[in-house]
């Protein structure tokens, strides 16, 4: 991999927020589309493998934040599409708020130094 150094580790607990936000802005998506979107947004820095992404999706589904259902892609492939549930939308709002607070705190800390 050429851009290995440029890759970053997914911060613990942030993957859920990324997935929820992606689905919120793009509507129902299958797993590959979510991964591709995150890679694109991060400029290739964030490359999720299947072993990380799909257990996370399953966990969110088990927590009642996502709903998964089989459908077909534009290229007529069968794929599992995930959509936000009302609980997921509520979770996204609160997660986003706490993320913003965290960012502000870190920012303040760094500025002080």
């Amino acid at each position: 991999m050429s851009n290995r150094d440029a890759q970053i580790e997914v911060l613990q607990g942030t993957l859920d927020l990324m997935v929820l936000q992606t689905l919120s802005s793009m509507g129902p998506q299958h797993g590959y589309a979510i991964a591709a979107r995150l890679e694109q947004v991060s400029g290739g820095a964030l490359q999720l493998n299947m072993g990380t992404l799909y257990p996370a999706l399953m966990r969110l589904e088990q927590r009642g934040m996502l709903r998964g259902a089989w459908g077909t892609t534009d290229t007529n492939r069968r794929a599992r599409f995930y959509s936000l549930s009302p609980a997921g939308r509520a979770a996204l709002t609160s997660e986003r708020r706490s993320w913003e607070r965290m960012v502000a705190i870190i920012q303040a800390l760094i500025n002080e130094a």
Partner: protein
């Protein structure tokens, strides 16, 4: 939704995923393949393989540890089903041992551990006086008289609630309009008992302070148990009347269901106010109840005790002034050293607790040992099995199973066995606990214990199952987990496993020898107690006890009754005495004279009518029996001593006359302080026991029955005594309508009642010993058999070279014989120490007695021979050519 709730939801989903399967593997795989295909289409390469991603998904779908447990359970069950014989033996062995343990616990719990269902039970205490008895042995008593209660109630008014808590006694009563007398278990309570206990009635009202005053209308409260049994929970029971003799009590209420009295083992039928026992209220020395106290808030029990002890000491100093001038110093010192103490009453206080307390703990301990033995036996069987599974374990290790994983595998299998055994044990305990209770039955009053299934029993069972699993599963699990492919192939592992098996065998043998030894001690105690001669015959003898007003005609009535009974067909002889010998009653007076001169000492006395000795088959050796008109030494109307006649036994003649014929001699018998009356000896009889079965033959002076105190009629019948009870009761009603019958019972009861504990211990430890032997036999067989199989080739070689059968047998058994000997020595050593500890429960047996040591040795030798026989025979039948050909 909070994150905690979301986490819970995820966990439940994963639990369901484990139990029900969740999304199937194909579904997950299809999704991953779709992802890979989409990635390929877009020209990117997926780094993770589908397989490893699928593994991660599976872990997220369910709970991985639960998944492992599930597969281990399925695998373990298959293992158990495959080794059907070993599994069945394991479950049966453990089941019996667990059942015996639970049964023992049920009884220990019901008698000793269960807290009374009353308010602040941990602040309740009962009073106990410690004293030194006439033989110099320390003893305790818990019963008090009413004047003492009044004194203590006033003394402690500011620091504690003081209560009369009676000892339940059977009494004859009639209920409602019924003329039929019924026996009810009656308990006297002071008016503050129910209030202090914080009880609310199931029906009507309970006894209150206003009911417990002189002159209050007599009321009674019946127990829930009695209400159910006698009245079938009819609410009209309240308002019914209850008659004791000429006293009429109104039933005013039913006590709550949970309250089963204050004496575990006895459930009273009726509670009545203490003041209704009118004759006893002003009788110092008539002790008929326990005193319970509850310290007031902020007062320590020790403070209450100090207040009591100070008063107790004052009172003793005062009483000392009434002692005879010739009272020995030792007696005075013993009297002044008496102590009063507070004992916790949170678990109640009953004679059954006092008598069965330590025997029950001993039984519990022995049953625990048997359980450990059972665990060792099953552990051995399973270790043997893991031995044969070494290859399977090695395979698991080579494909990457960790130590913990292998241990879990074996432990899960053990847990399944333990579960089966627990179920079997619970069934066994259900049956066994009441059967054990039936053995305590001959105590005068039927024993009733609450043996309900409750959380106490359930949690005990659960803890037991876990413990048992750990105990027997641990050795094989440890063995299994230490398997490495290399050792498994080389066979080192087998050697190590055999070491585990051998050390477990030593443990088994130690415990087996110990249990066997203890059982032998209790058996010998019971045998010696029951086979000893009491100097009298109680077979075919009935005892009738009756109450009558204390008047001058009493003696004549008793003697007339005896005459009337003597004329009945089927009666061989009849006599009256104050109480039966061996009824644990006693009467002692100081006797002077004979060779001992003025050196007086207390001796047993008993008032008996003519024919007493004939009725009990006691030999009259010299002189004559009593006749109508004989009288004993006594005080006359102006308290001047008057001489009388008496008959003494051989022990008395030994002590006072050096064994000479004492007939015609005279001794002095103390009548009151410093006043003696002469007694002329008119007869000599053979020795008999007096008070208890454990007492040796002591000097006794028999005097003519004078009707003072109690009275009983002894009747020797030709046929079966039990059938004669009704006739006796009828005769009493006809001949002496003024008397009220207390009871008729076979005289043999007086002996049996005193050996209840010994019988219980002998029988139960006997069955534990049988179980222990069976377990030891199984263990031994396994080890010897293993030795034979292991050395098949060697044996074949030896036989081919001309070894004798005896050599072969010695060769295969010598190893286990050493193990057995080590265990035996350890077990017997522990047994001797234990025997010293429980000396008080033994009778004429000492732990180092050859009689006690020999049976366990002989029995274990026999078991060893029996268990080694089949494998030894197989060893000498080995066909050398066949074996060598196979190798």
């Amino acid at each position: 939704m909070t994150s905690g709730l979301r986490g819970l939801r995820e966990w439940i989903q994963r639990l369901l995923g484990t139990v029900r399967g969740g999304r199937p593997d194909e579904d997950l795989e299809e999704e991953l393949r779709a992802h890979a295909a989409l990635a390929a289409e877009a020209g990117t390469r997926e780094r993770r393989s589908i397989d490893s991603a699928l593994e991660a998904l599976r872990d997220q779908r369910g709970l991985p540890w639960l998944d492992a447990l599930k597969s281990d359970t399925i695998f373990g069950w298959r293992q158990i089903a495959r080794h059907r014989a070993v599994s069945a033996a394991s479950v049966l062995t453990l089941g019996l041992a667990i059942g015996a343990t639970i049964a023992a616990f049920r009884i220990v719990d019901a008698v000793l551990l269960r807290p009374l269902p009353v308010a602040d039970s941990d602040r309740l205490f009962y009073l106990q006086v410690s004293y030194v008895d006439s033989r110099g042995e320390p003893d305790t008593r818990e019963d008090f008289d009413y004047p003492t209660f009044i004194a203590y109630r006033d003394l402690l008014a500011r620091v504690a609630d003081v209560m009369v808590v009676g000892m339940s006694h059977p009494a004859d009563a009639t209920i409602g309009d019924s003329q039929q007398a019924e026996r009810v278990l009656r308990q006297f309570v002071s008016g503050n008992v129910f209030g202090t206990f914080g009880l609310t009635p199931a029906l009507g009202r309970l006894i209150g302070p206003s009911d417990d005053t002189a002159g209050a209308p007599p009321v009674a409260v019946i127990s829930y148990d009695y209400w159910t049994r006698r009245f079938h929970q009819d609410p009209r029971a309240v308002g019914t009347v209850l008659r004791y003799g000429d006293r009429v009590f109104d039933i005013v209420g039913v006590s709550p269901k949970a309250f089963i009295g204050t004496e575990p083992g006895l459930v009273p039928d009726v509670f009545v106010p203490a003041t209704s026992n009118t004759e006893a209220l002003n009788s110092p020395g008539w002790s008929w109840f326990l005193i319970w106290v509850r310290a007031k808030p902020g007062i320590t029990p020790d403070h209450v005790r100090q207040v009591l002890q100070a008063d107790f000491d004052r009172e003793h100093q005062a009483r000392l002034k009434g002692f005879s001038s010739d009272t020995p110093r030792k007696t005075i010192e013993a009297f002044l050293s008496e102590q009063i103490s507070l004992l916790p009453a949170a678990h109640g206080a009953s004679p059954i607790q006092k008598h069965l307390g330590s025997p029950l703990w001993i039984l519990m301990a022995l049953v625990g040992l048997v359980l450990v033995m059972a665990c060792a036996t099953v552990g051995n069987l399973l270790t043997g099995q893991t031995l044969s599974r070494a290859k399977e374990m090695a395979l698991r290790v080579s494909i990457g199973a960790g130590r913990a994983r292998l241990m879990q595998l074996v432990l899960v299998e053990s847990a399944i066995l333990a579960l089966g055994a627990s179920a079997l044990g619970a069934l066994f305990a259900w049956w066994a606990a009441p059967a054990v209770l039936a053995m305590i039955e001959p105590i005068e009053i039927p024993v009733r214990l609450v043996l309900d299934f409750d959380w106490r029993l359930a949690s005990f069972g659960a803890v037991l199952a876990v413990l048992v699993t750990a105990l027997f599963g641990f050795a094989p699990a440890l063995r299994a987990s230490s398997v490495t492919p290399v050792t498994a192939l080389k066979g080192d592992d087998a050697r190590q496993s055999r070491r585990v098996i051998k050390s477990l065998l030593v443990v088994q043998m130690t415990f087996c020898a110990f249990v066997l030894f203890a059982a032998g001690l209790f058996r010998a105690t019971f045998d010696r107690l029951s086979s000893q001669s009491f100097g009298l015959s109680y077979d075919h003898v009935l005892v009738l006890a009756a109450n009558a007003r204390n008047d001058d005609g009493r003696t004549a009535h008793w003697l007339q009754l005896a005459d009337a009974v003597r004329r009945l067909p089927g009666v061989e002889s009849a006599a009256v005495s104050g109480w039966p010998l061996l009824s644990q009653n006693g009467w002692q007076e100081t006797v002077h004279g004979g060779d001992r001169g003025a050196d007086g000492r207390p001796e047993y006395l008993l008032g008996v009518s003519p024919d007493f000795f004939k009725t009990l088959h006691v030999d009259l050796l010299e002189g004559r029996d009593f006749r109508q008109g004989d009288a004993g030494p006594r005080l006359d109307a102006i308290d001047k001593p008057v001489g009388g006649v008496g008959i003494v036994n051989v022990a008395f003649a030994q002590r006072y006359f050096g064994g000479r014929n004492p007939v015609g001699e005279r001794v002095l018998v103390r009548q009151e302080k410093d006043v003696d009356a002469p007694l002329d000896i008119i007869g000599l009889v053979s020795n008999t026991a007096y008070r208890t079965v454990r007492e040796r033959m002591r000097p006794i002076v028999f005097v003519p029955y004078s009707g003072v105190g109690q009275g009983t009629l002894l009747v020797r019948v030709a046929g079966e005594p039990a059938a004669f009870g009704q006739t006796l009761a009828r005769t009493l009603r006809r001949e002496w309508p003024g008397a009220r019958m207390r009871e008729v019972r076979p005289a043999r009861d007086f002996i049996d009642t005193q050996m209840v504990v010994e019988r219980l211990l002998a029988r139960l430890t006997g069955s534990f010993a049988t179980l222990a032997l069976l377990l030891a036999g199984i263990g031994l067989y396994g080890v010897v058999n293993d030795a034979v199989i292991q050395r098949r080739r060697e044996i074949g070689l030896r036989m081919a070279l001309g070894a004798q059968a005896t050599d072969i047998v010695r060769h295969v058994t010598i190893g286990s014989l050493v193990l057995v000997s080590v265990g035996l020595l350890a077990g017997l050593g522990a047994g001797v120490a234990f025997g010293r500890l429980i000396g008080a429960l033994l009778f004429q047996v000492t732990p180092t007695d050859p009689v006690a040591l020999a049976p366990p040795l002989a029995i274990l030798a026999t078991v060893f021979a029996l268990a080694s026989l089949p494998p030894a025979i197989r060893a000498i039948r080995t066909d050398p050519t066949e074996t060598l050909k196979r190798e």
